[in-house]
Symmetry: C2
Subunit: 412 residues, 2 copies
């Protein structure tokens, strides 16, 4: 294969049907941002919407906005938009709380739906907070249940009649490896278990079809590929067939059948709404809602094609430019991974800090992974070039080998 | 008492030491806003802070803001500010999630701290969602516990050795009646029970001293008198002496001892931080944080004095101007109530809608209460006059007796 040049990358950007989306985002100058899988960039539409939510809705219309601007059903309206991105019906998704809280709700509900079964099955490589939430739930319930961890590649074979719910993250946060949603879900169902998918690294990053896979439950976050802003509210999915059977452990007023009659007894709302709990953070949720509109304008197949192309280009450039610097590929193969790639290097932490100091922002995942996320709505092919050029400069000059880059910050 | 005039009210505004605070808020023209106990008005400082959080922190600094702008300890920093308003130490309060979710956390923790006791004691007049949350928790735990409801005036005598935790809202959302925090807490402790206070209608409205009362646990919201914006994140308090004994049921990554090592086992953080769960909505939380700074500039004793004076003036004006219109006083006596008053009338719903149509915004609480909240940072004495003048006009003309005001909206 002939050597790739920056001009080649520029040519690919000119031919990219998604290229116009970049101007819909605010992006800092002199930065190559490859961390949209941790925090998506700021959509300009979100700025405008937030200004409206603050100045008009809160500032002028005040409490009346619950009706006037429909704050009251914003969780359902934003949820319906996410539903279109993950293969769910409009009435199967709501936006609420955080991913962790939503996972707690649905794991608790799942254990009640399968009272004779004691196992929550997951993998050690699941996102840690998902495991923590399961542990806290089991602890709270008195230790009658068990969190069983089996490596991802063997998990389908480990589903047996003791398993109440299989809880997996669809796209692994480190390797990017995608679980076969339909196949694992079918295995779970064959054993009589429920299937819960965490879509944090999937929603907005690649095509997802929960209903085609017959998934039972799902959660996901709003601040990664959905670009909803830092700590944006999360979402949850309950397949229609389960909705009336769910007993919400977090039974707050927003999930009540008649939230404004102020009854003293809890009566769950019909449908997905019973999974709401307290009053949602309207400003953060409005921001997410506006970001979703931008995402929905794009074709998810085009997003997936560009995502894979960006990752492959990046890896090819690392091979071409940094081949002698000792990076190992920490990513799953192209069609088996989400919208990220990982490079392994013993000095990964310091290298990432040196890269960030040069304006190339990825992140580090212990013990040795430099992680780069590709957000096809705003990342360009030249971003891959510029990132690898910076990486080459860091490595050629051993720039990472400085005390300031080796000191671990509070957040990495 | 001689007749009160609008000029009298204007004179009181001129003499009001808190009057300058009004210009720190955005308030709509031609509106008298007496619903700050449902949604506080917009502080100008919050607008500026949110713009900074969006444009600079999210837009330009992106993921780096977790360190650069200290998003990572914003829950603790905002919590410490609330601590100053409610008589707690800086390390005893965090901002997180919603009031309902926080109540779930602390009730669950309380039941574990008192394993031999099966009762959550509350009152039927508690805010309904507080009762719903207790019901959902008990249901989830298999029905081994009981939510026992005893009318507020008799509750102190109902605390016995079966009670694990007494869960009360400090200021009643309808009558405004204040529980004697120190006395009820002492009764709870004498019986070996824990005491949990909901401060939704207290924080920022009147002096609260959790530690002087030896309270164990507390929750509260950010969007009423704290002016944190619609659905602003809530807070929770755990007295220092209990912090290491709390087993958080919602055990997410933000409450982990080492959130960035990505261990697969949950290990609770030391101190109050273990009560955090998932990633917080940073935009909504930043807004609240800025609003707290405004509140902290004011003297809480002055806030209380003005609050009581506004309520008394309002009631005196209702008597003077609307005496023949059949309103009953639905409020607790002056020094026994929070920062609100209630009028009872069989046509309360329609009357409130007609008032709102005239730009006087209070709210309605079924079956028959018109509720008016007074926020001393931005409400004036002339607001009381103008509100009652509008009420008189509505009543004199029977303006409420129109179909458009009698039709119940989704949210009231």
């Amino acid at each position: 294969m002939s050597r790739i040049t920056r001009a080649d990358c520029e040519a690919r950007d000119r031919a990219d049907p998604l290229a116009p989306f970049r101007q819909r985002f605010v992006l800092p100058p002199d930065v190559v941002y490859l961390d949209g899988n941790s925090l998506g960039a700021l959509p300009k539409a979100a700025v405008a919407r937030l200004q409206q939510a603050v100045d008009r809705e809160w500032g002028q219309d005040l409490i009346r906005s619950w009706n006037l601007h429909r704050w009251i059903d914003l969780p359902q309206r934003a949820g319906a938009k996410i539903g279109r991105l993950v293969g769910a019906k409009a009435n199967e998704v709501v936006v609420a709380d955080s991913t962790s809280v939503n996972l707690f709700k649905l794991l608790a509900a799942a254990l009640r739906l399968k009272p004779g079964r004691r196992v929550i099955l997951s993998e050690p490589g699941n996102f840690p907070t998902d495991l923590y939430v399961a542990q806290g739930l089991i602890d709270m319930l008195g230790g009658k249940h068990e969190l069983k961890l089996v490596p991802g590649e063997r998990i389908a074979d480990a589903i047996d009649e003791t398993v109440a719910v299989v809880s997996l993250t669809h796209v692994n946060y480190k390797s990017g490896r995608i679980h076969d949603m339909a196949a694992v879900t079918a295995k779970a169902h064959a054993a009589g278990a429920l299937m819960l998918w965490d879509l944090c690294h999937s929603a907005g990053a690649l095509p997802v079809d929960l209903n085609a896979a017959k998934a039972d439950l799902a959660v996901g976050c709003g601040y990664k590929y959905l670009n909803g802003g830092p700590g944006a509210p999360a979402f949850l999915f309950v397949a229609e067939r389960h909705q009336e059977s769910i007993r919400p452990p977090l039974s707050g007023w927003m999930g009540h059948a008649h939230p404004f009659t102020f009854d003293i007894g809890y009566e769950p709302a019909h449908g997905i709404a019973r999974n709401l709990c307290g009053t949602p953070p309207v400003l953060s949720m409005s921001t997410l809602d506006a970001a979703l509109d931008v995402m929905l304008e794009a074709d998810m197949k085009a997003i997936r094609a560009k995502s894979l192309a960006l990752g492959e280009l990046f890896l090819a450039l690392v091979e071409q430019e940094c081949g002698r610097h000792g990076f190992a590929n920490g990513s799953a193969p192209q069609h088996e991974r989400g919208s990220q790639v990982g490079l392994l290097h013993p000095e990964g932490y310091a290298i990432m800090q040196a890269l960030i100091a040069r304006g190339v922002i990825g992140d580090f995942r212990a013990p040795d992974m430099l992680r780069f996320g590709f957000a096809p709505l705003y990342n360009r092919f030249v971003d891959a070039w510029d990132a690898v050029a910076a990486l080459k400069a860091v490595m050629d000059a051993r720039a990472w080998d400085a005390p300031k880059f080796k000191t671990r910050a509070a957040v990495t």
